[in-house]
Amino acid sequence: MLVIPCPHCGPRGEIEFSYGGQAHIARPKDPEKVSDAEWADYVFLRDNTKGVFLERWCHVHGCRRWFNVARNTVTYEILAAYDAGAKPPKLDYETQV
């Protein structure tokens, strides 16, 4: 089980959380003007990162808040947890996408 550091509650077991996929996906500002391919990219396509991945988690059985986590998908090491809406912290890593 991962121990995930909730920014509000502190370190808790993974069983208390639910996963929300890749973080920092911006909705196109003018959805009517983007092409179908660009819209499909926004809705469906996500990175499949080997290395440090920025992802969303929700502490559903705790404070029920969404937040972001930087996790290494190879080692499962969690490098940072930060509020939803905040910019990711500067991390020293190499990532293959």
């Binding site: 509000h8 509650c9 808790r12 077991g13 069983i15 059985h61 705790g62 404070c63």
Partner: protein, 211 residues
Amino acid sequence: MIESYLRQSPLAHLALAAHGPGSGKPAGVHMAERPFPGLVNLRGPGDNANFHGAFKAAAGYDLPVEAGATAGSANTTALWLGPGEWLILDARGGPKSGPRIAESLRAALAGISAAVTDISESRACIRISGAKARAVLQKGCPLDFHPRHFAQGQCAQSVLARAAILLHMTPDETAADGPAFDVYVARSFAEYTWRWLEDAAREFGVARGER
């Protein structure tokens, strides 16, 4: 014929051997239902001094702002649930305490952007206490129960055997008796949670009722 290790007597699920005369064990755990606690969910702007001031004027104490902290008076206790979310409770309040707390908070917070919701009927409250209470909860809950991390007067939301719970380590028992926890669980999970706890506590001996 069924394998002997799979055989169960018809009433095995009630864990009757765990308690009552004849169990041959001193009770390591006491379990009781606390009926009709008054529970009011309060949401509001946690960074607004007017909101905190209005609450303090009504309740007589400050809302806790640290994770897992509680605060209270003789009448009510406030449990921190998240940023900008609290549970105001009166565990021994009786059926009318929920509406009473909600009404007084609504009056106090009039004009402030806050939500006051009486959720008394939605939860069951199971009091589990005794020297082995921690050991029982640890079997199904991923929280760190070491006294350094989870002390008297603290609360936490988590899961117990996959049921969502709110744990409150009540401050009204002395350390010599062992810790006492109030487990708040959704009403529809109450029987499941009670039976799960009773089964988990079987090895320590269970006494029904509060000490």
